[in-house]
């Protein structure tokens, strides 16, 4: 076959040094260095991040003196900031002081009775609340689901409208209508929680809806399981016990108090602070996010490189 090599040998070196030929090497140098820096997300990283930052201990006694101490400080989220867990278990339920009932009644009348009725017996707009217990009310109000602005939209998590004290007061009033019934407000000491146990229990009981990473997902029939990345230990136990909305209710026969504590610990310590060794976590939504990154960033970047070092005509 005839070949017509047209350039002389002298031109060879110069031709090698065309910008288009050399440019890749220059970039490679840079990329290689950055790659090397990235080269050790191995063991060192792991041991530091595998132990998530401890969530502040939440424990308290039920004595009314301490409760009122908390009340006057009006601290927001959970409980009472007390120190030593007086109960070995790390999970127990409190009785709200009687003094909460009267202000609670006023709050309820002003904010809730239009829908739930003056005696919280429910009506066409909203369900009956009697017998649900302070814990249920606490869950719905502290997650901002209640008071609902407009009864046509489904209640979702929002910044709470009531502060901690007001929430407990409303809960106390609803509880006072049916003393002793329903779900009580738990106090959870997650530092006593067993994470391994929590992992197993969560995978078994909750992952089916909330997904294994707790990111939440759409369920059948228009419902959805919300993300668990915002819930506090108290709200988690309240959700387990009261079964909000489309979520099943888990009684103590199903999930013991110890189990509930472990789940709360696992959710707040592990799922809310995932060990994202290995770089940016893609939101726990799995291969969908990864696929987008691989195609758009990975293949996309390399195609741009092709476009750069190749002819475009």
């Amino acid at each position: 076959m005839p070949k017509d090599h047209q350039a002389g040998e002298a031109g060879t070196v110069r031709r090698w040094l065309r910008p288009r030929t050399v440019a890749p090497f220059a970039l490679v140098g840079a990329v290689g260095i950055i790659g090397l820096i990235a080269f050790s997300p191995g063991s060192a990283h792991a041991s530091s991040t595998a132990t998530p930052a401890p969530v502040q201990a939440t424990a308290n006694t039920a004595t009314s003196s301490q409760a009122s101490a908390y009340v006057s400080s009006n601290a927001n989220p959970p409980h009472l900031g007390g120190q030593a867990p007086s109960k070995q278990l790390g999970l127990y339920y409190i009785t709200l002081p009687r003094s909460y009932i009267a202000p609670g009644a006023a709050l309820f009348a002003a904010n809730c009775s239009t829908c739930h009725g003056p005696q919280a017996l429910g009506g066409t707009k909203a369900p009956n609340l009697q017998g649900l217990g302070a814990g249920t009310v606490d869950f719905w109000v502290s997650t901002g689901r209640m008071p609902l602005a407009n009864s046509s939209i489904q209640a979702t998590r929002k910044p709470p409208r009531f502060n901690r004290l007001q929430t407990l007061e409303v809960s106390a009033w609803v509880q006072s209508l049916t003393p002793g019934e329903g779900v009580q407000i738990p106090v959870v000491n997650t530092s006593l929680g067993n994470l391994e146990q929590g992992n197993t229990l969560f995978t078994l009981n909750c992952a089916a809806c909330h997904t294994i990473t707790g990111a939440g997902d759409a369920l059948m029939d228009g419902a959805y399981a919300p993300t668990l990345h915002l819930a506090t230990p108290t709200q988690i136990v309240e959700a387990i016990r009261s079964g909000p909305g489309n979520m099943p209710r888990f009684g103590p026969g199903n999930i013991t108090n110890t189990n509930a504590r472990d789940i709360a610990a696992y959710v707040t310590k592990v799922l809310q602070h995932p060990t994202n060794a290995g770089g940016i976590g893609l939101g726990g939504i799995g291969p969908v996010g990864e696929g987008f990154v691989a195609l758009l960033i990975g293949v996309g970047a390399l195609m741009l490189v092709c476009f750069w070092i190749g002819d475009r005509a």
């Binding site: 076959m1 005839p2 070949k3 017509d4 031109g11 031709r15 090698w16 288009r20 030929t21 440019a23 890749p24 090497f25 970039l27 490679v28 990329v31 950055i34 790659g35 820096i37 990235a38 080269f39 050790s40 997300p41 191995g42 063991s43 994470l195 391994e196 929590g198 992992n199 089916a208 997904t211 294994i212 990111a215 759409a218 029939d221 228009g222 959805y224 592990v270 060990t275 060794a277 290995g278 770089g279 976590g281 893609l282 799995g286 291969p287 969908v288 990864e290 696929g291 987008f292 691989a294 195609l295 293949v299 390399l302 195609m303 490189v305 092709c306 070092i309 190749g310 002819d311 475009r312």
Partner: protein, 495 residues
């Protein structure tokens, strides 16, 4: 001295001639010819990182108690496969980087194959005499997808385990032989007798990569033998190839590209998390989680499964779960058969049996381009359908609504894409001035020192309002003498 010893070697081995052909192989410079190289180099990365992984990975379903450094798992019963993969991530230096780079490389590998295939398809590079190479390519695509699925299953975590479970049901859904096949592959009823991990392992690290290597050799061998195609253009014809020679120009370019591909993959591996299996936990058949998707290249199958209504066929004492069989066996079967036979379908349709070394511009083949667009539309729709739940959650929509949207879209989108692409091709071809050559301006200097410009004579085919005839292949008249035809470093070689 060196010369002499080289000659001595060559007198005995006689490889200089072959080597010469190889070094003189001409590579067209157009950027779209480098897409296949992304696939090639990510395969190289896969081999490298894969060898590293297999030094630490334990392919066994045997259960042990986890004692590694990831606290939430301590004391749990996990398989050795899972424990060793978590160990790779936390207790092996740079193990996590290697794992992630391996996984990103796999995702990019299949993506690059797809893009490369699209290039070959839309430019008609698969036409005679290159049908064989097209077939080899489709086979490599299938093997890459299969191997990705197998690899994804190796860590034995909850997400991939769910994938195996689905694969089992798919195999089982095949009429008559399904349950035997599944039984044979899994060594018993699901979840099998623990043979599945070691079996998948050996197929994943040895058998499929070997076949892939063989096919890759054939693919590139054919490429050298048949020489590259090229886009029509200045001094390019059916009978020559214009481009850079293997040595030195292309060698430098492609080595740079190897490093770039490696660089991008390792950057992703170092900075973006993929498949954090320690968050998922060990696979147990009774555990389930929502939001379980396969890797993207399996996504279109998963999507097809999701949007299929639950139909069943019962008769002659058998039940065929059409809801699984149709989307997961028949659908990919049809798709890959279309891929395999497309060169023959097309040549039968166009009655074009000639050799083709010059490529088509996609717009000049509106029907083919439209067919490709329809296929992309179909696959794209079922691909997106695999994230119905994520979408419903993200956009706050009812899941059933999203499902129905995709059921309708899967029929509408391909049809719309077809006609849209067809229309666009035709519009592009009719666009005023496109495809017409500019007339040259002849500049002259008069005696009084004045410059004058004059339009040159129209060249054949350039008459007013007359388009260049683009179908079937634009014919360029090689008016430039061969010595002048090429730019610096570019060579022109007869076929």
């Amino acid at each position: 001295m060196i010369d002499e010893s080289l000659r001595w070697v060559d007198d005995r081995l006689g490889i200089a001639k072959g080597g010469r052909t190889f070094l003189d192989k001409i590579f067209p410079d157009h950027w779209s010819f480098m897409l296949g190289e992304i696939a090639l180099y990510s395969f190289v990365v896969l081999l490298g990182t894969g060898v590293f992984l297999s030094l630490y990975y334990v392919p066994s379903a045997h259960e042990i108690i986890y004692h590694g450094s990831y606290l939430p798992l301590r004391g749990q019963r996990v398989s050795e496969a899972y424990a060793s993969t978590v160990g790779l991530s936390f207790d092996v230096r740079s193990g996590l980087l290697m794992r992630q780079a391996h996984h990103w490389a796999a995702d990019i590998f299949v993506g690059a194959i797809a893009v490369h295939m699209a290039r070959v398809f839309f430019t008609g590079a698969f036409r005679k005499p290159r049908e064989f190479n097209w077939i080899v390519g489709v086979t490599m695509l299938i093997l890459a997808i299969v191997n990705g699925f197998l690899g994804y299953s190796l860590p034995d975590d909850l997400v991939s385990g769910t994938g195996i479970r689905i694969a089992y049901s798919i195999i089982e859904s095949v009429p008559l032989v399904g349950s035997y096949l599944a039984f044979f592959l899994f060594g018993g009823n699901y979840p099998g007798s623990g043979v599945i991990i070691p079996r998948f392992f050996i197929i994943h690290v040895l058998i499929v990569p070997l076949i892939l290597l063989g096919l890759l050799g054939a693919h590139l061998g054919l490429l050298v033998k048949q020489k590259h195609t090229q886009f029509p253009g200045k001094s390019k014809s059916e009978r020559n190839v214009v481009g850079s020679p293997m040595f030195p120009t292309f060698m430098a370019k492609t080595t740079g590209f190897l490093f770039m591909t490696t660089g991008v993959i390792f950057l992703l591996g170092g900075f973006v998390q993929i498949n954090p299996i320690w968050q998922f936990g060990q696979y147990e058949s009774y555990k389930i989680s929502y939001a379980v998707q396969p890797d993207w290249y399996m996504g279109w199958l998963d999507g097809a499964l999701r949007i299929m209504p639950s139909w069943e066929w019962v008769g002659w004492g058998h039940t065929i779960p059409l809801e699984v069989f149709l989307p997961a066996v028949i659908f990919p079967g049809i798709v890959f058969n279309i891929f395999y036979t497309w060169p023959f379908i097309e040549s039968r349709h166009t009655k074009d049996l000639a050799y083709h070394n010059l490529l088509d511009r996609p717009r000049d083949r509106p029907k083919r381009t439209a067919a490709g667009a329809a296929m992309l539309g179909l696959l794209g729709t079922v691909f997106f359908a695999s994230s119905t739940d994520v979408m419903a959650n993200f956009f706050d929509l009812p899941l059933m609504g999203v499902l129905w949207f995709f059921r309708i879209a899967v029929i509408v989108v391909p049809i719309v894409s077809y006609f849209l692409a067809y229309q666009i091709c035709n519009e592009l071809r009719q666009a005023e001035g496109l495809g017409k050559r500019k007339r040259a301006l002849a500049v002259t200097l008069t005696e009084s020192g004045e410059y004058r410009t004059e339009e040159s004579e129209p060249r054949p085919g350039d008459g007013a309002g007359v388009e260049l005839e683009p179908v079937p292949v634009p014919a360029f008249i090689d008016v430039v003498p061969p010595e002048l035809a090429t730019g610096e470093g570019v060579r022109r070689v007869m076929r």
